[in-house]
Symmetry: C2
């Protein structure tokens, strides 16, 4: 099964939501991505942590069969993030960020990883994203994330990275900000002109949209998926990265890039993210089973069908 | 083809959006509903206007085969609404409301209309909604809308109406406010305990969700549909009412209430609403064709499928 390579952060998070508070729990974009993707394929992780990184947290990754040769353990402290969510749970308020050892992160891709075909560049400096790409030999599918900080301060560098990326995975606000265009469809069209073959827009409780140029290159092919409706959302931290992990893990494992595969990958990303937000940190993903994933996938299929369906309750 | 009965407002709107301004154009919940529903079935309209109501606006309704026996023309001025939309186009800011003849509206259902099986109670006083229901003889499907004003000030009366309603069609914020519950799934569960067999939640650019109790009455059956992605939205006025019109018109015309029919009705509602917002007032609906409706319906089917699909562009 073709593995997926992820480069991003491994962190300790302190998070406050209306449902509780946790201190210094395992987090980071690459961590959420890795555990999410591990349900579908082998994951090779490139990141760095400090000497304070806990043995038990390494074991979380090991138990999910994540290859840790690329995880550098260096002198200093692990990246810390402190954030808070209000009642609507849509926007995190960052209270404190301590980059620590992540400030000097310069990813070195182990030789064994350089042939990997599926690559996810989590939300890091676009220059570092390109440094990763300079080290891989036969990429087939490169996806990346970014955020307002890079869009505002490193726009030209980000454009350079986008030229080399196949799939950009960002949220609603980032899409509009990147394209400087309030209409999402027009924003998507502009971004697809910059390089990516597909744009995946994460919209939290409103689901996800994917835009691709159609076969002729004129029109847009659009896919819309609802979020999995949940009665209790505990902590949205990591939703976007676990979505990306489910998405890329499925595509790498399957080894296909046709439209059907990519759409199903969005559904699997949606499913994994829906589980992730049910508990703090990686608590829910740690205990997630294939049966549960399959059940929500089928529920989403049922939830979006309006032709040739068996009748349910009716009115 | 079984007709649909609608009771609501016929108004003159003055609207300002980032794309332009119109003064005293045809509007009102029952107007948008009627023209939208007219693509699927015969519509019988109950409303009142003043002597200032223009002949050309009556003709818009007549050309869409709307039965106007229930449209009272009384001494005084037609209902006026003045509103404004900002750049995100999601929330209307009401600048002025003049109820005029609508202030004393007490709907009298013509005898010919009293056998109609499909009824839509647009956003009016819940007491008046019940007065309508007292005059109909064999309702099969009753749907209604409401708004924050009635939820805040006439809550008990609204609950009385909901006991007699089969489908409640409201927006996201109204759902949460009505149930006093920020989580949408839990809010839906609560509202379905009050009487309606189905709750349709309109979410603007994020599409629609429908909640029904499942056959066993324990769980929820949920349907999620994206909005039709548009590159230019001109004026959101009437989106909700044209959605309801497409939805109820399709169900009345089809004469079915099974789950598949209701889900398809949501798609047709979505389609009609997507056309409506492309121009001011009813300008777009006036010129809408069955071919265009069918095309967007099929596009939405294509846009939401992720199994057994023909391959498009891929990556």
């Amino acid at each position: 099964m073709p593995p997926v390579l992820v480069v991003g952060s491994v962190a300790y998070d302190s998070v406050q939501t209306p449902y509780g508070t946790v201190e210094e729990v395992l987090g980071g974009s690459a961590t959420y991505f890795s555990v999410a993707a591990s349900f579908f394929t082998k994951v090779c992780l490139v990141a760095c942590v400090g000497r304070d990184f806990r043995r038990q947290d390494l074991q979380v990754l090991e138990r999910h069969n994540v290859d840790l040769e690329g995880l550098e353990i260096v002198e200093g402290h692990t990246f810390r993030w402190r954030g808070k969510y209000g009642h609507d749970l849509n926007d995190a308020q960052t209270l404190d960020t301590q980059l620590n050892v992540f400030a000097n992160f310069s990813p070195k891709i182990p030789h064994r990883y350089r042939e990997i075909s599926h690559i996810f560049l989590a939300n890091i400096d676009p220059l570092i994203q390109r440094k990763v790409l300079a080290q891989v030999k036969q990429p087939v599918l490169i996806a990346c994330d970014t955020m307002n900080y890079w869009i505002e301060g490193h726009f030209e560098s980000l454009l350079e990275t986008l030229k080399r990326v196949n799939i950009l995975i960002v949220n609603d606000a980032e899409t509009r900000q990147l394209a400087q265009e309030p209409n999402l469809v027009r924003a998507a069209r502009r971004i697809l002109d910059w390089g990516p073959k597909a744009l995946v827009v994460k919209r939290g409780e409103f689901g996800a949209l994917m835009f691709q140029k159609d076969a002729a290159g004129h029109g847009l092919s659009i896919f819309g998926a609802p979020a999995f409706p949940l009665e209790s959302i505990f902590d949205p931290t990591g939703a976007g990265d676990s979505f990306a992990g489910g998405f890329m893990g499925y595509l790498a494992g399957l080894g296909r890039t046709d439209t059907q595969a990519i759409r199903q990958a969005i559904i699997f990303g949606t499913v994994i993210a829906s589980f992730n937000v049910e508990q703090f940190s990686l608590e829910r993903l740690k205990n997630l089973t294939f049966t549960e994933i399959g059940m929500r996938y089928r529920q989403l299929r049922e939830m979006t069908s309006f032709e040739d369906i068996a009748d349910g309750a009716g009115l």
